[in-house]
Symmetry: C2
Subunit: 159 residues, 2 copies
DNA sequence: TTGCTCCTCACGTCACGTGAGGTGGC
DNA sequence: TTGCTCCTCACGTCACGTGAGGTGGC
């Protein structure tokens, strides 16, 4: 298994630079890693796991993963424990995608894979839509108030 | 000042019942009160502040306030300190409304009040819209994925 | 009076923030 | 070699959760 095959840190970021790019802190990244929310970080070799005490290195895939985790946490407002459930489902989805493309699944197996993907996506969408509806409702309340103020301003201008 | 004029606990809720109705816990309500996010709770008299150690009582206004605070915290994902800033602005807005309706503000003063209301509402709306846009973007990404899965399902059905 | 809920400490937990003291090198 | 960033403890903080022990009464 070469470093290229393992693939990750072709452009390698250190933890401070990664944190700056995604808008968080090294402490948070280390904490998420400790909880297993991100894959284990790589070491200097880039193909083998990091030895304790050595610098962590991150590739584009790690950055994308971290952004996704932070976005879900921020937008859905879930605990890190719930977040782990979500990203585990994401990982399962990625495995299914992999089997679809690189395996030779039977037609029956293909149907099963698609059904599972659909279930997962429906679940995520339901969570998102509920939140979006709540936000939209609050927003329309504010817009109504805003319009009332505008109306009063016009009345003053007319007098 | 009669209990009716002070107005609050006409239908008086105790903390457990209030918590159940709005979907939180007594501990959280006490904590918010301690931070000054809610007005000080009333006592048995309902017109005078609660004496230490006595039961808290809450009226419909308290319930509405608590719901609003929880909604802002949940949807905007802000800290309780930022939340305090937001609700203080809300309170200032309520005072301006009161002056508008029950005072005798001059036309110049009326214009100033409206301008301040507009500034506040614009600020809230900007926060909300950014969040809603992020949610909508994530949602459309999921919808795209969902459609791709549907497409693959149709291909399987046709074969 | 008996339960049930309430009260006030006060310690525990989650998700990090913030140094202390030391090592490493994209 | 000198800085700068990184490392690992480890304690602090925010926003509550969770008993302990006791009092109150929509």
């Amino acid at each position: 298994v070469s470093a290229v095959a393992a693939g990750q840190p072709v452009v390698a970021l250190r933890i401070g630079e990664l944190a700056r790019r995604v808008g968080t802190t090294p402490r948070t990244i280390r904490y998420y890693e400790e909880l297993g929310l991100l894959g284990a970080s790589r070491g200097a070799d880039a193909a083998t796991p990091r030895e304790a005490g050595r610098h962590r290195l991150y590739g584009p895939g790690d950055e994308e993963r971290l952004r996704e985790v932070m976005r879900l946490k921020d937008l859905l407002g879930v605990s890190l424990d719930e977040l782990r459930t979500l990203v585990e489902a994401e990982d399962a989805r990625a495995l299914l995608r992999d089997e679809w493309h690189h395996g030779e699944p039977s037609t029956t197996r293909r149907r099963t894979i698609l059904a599972e993907l659909t279930t997962h996506l429906d679940h995520q969408l339901a969570l998102l839509r509920r939140r979006r509806d709540e936000l939209t409702k609050l927003e329309s309340e504010l817009v109504t108030k805003h319009e009332r103020v505008r109306e009063l301003q016009r009345e003053l201008d007319d007098a």
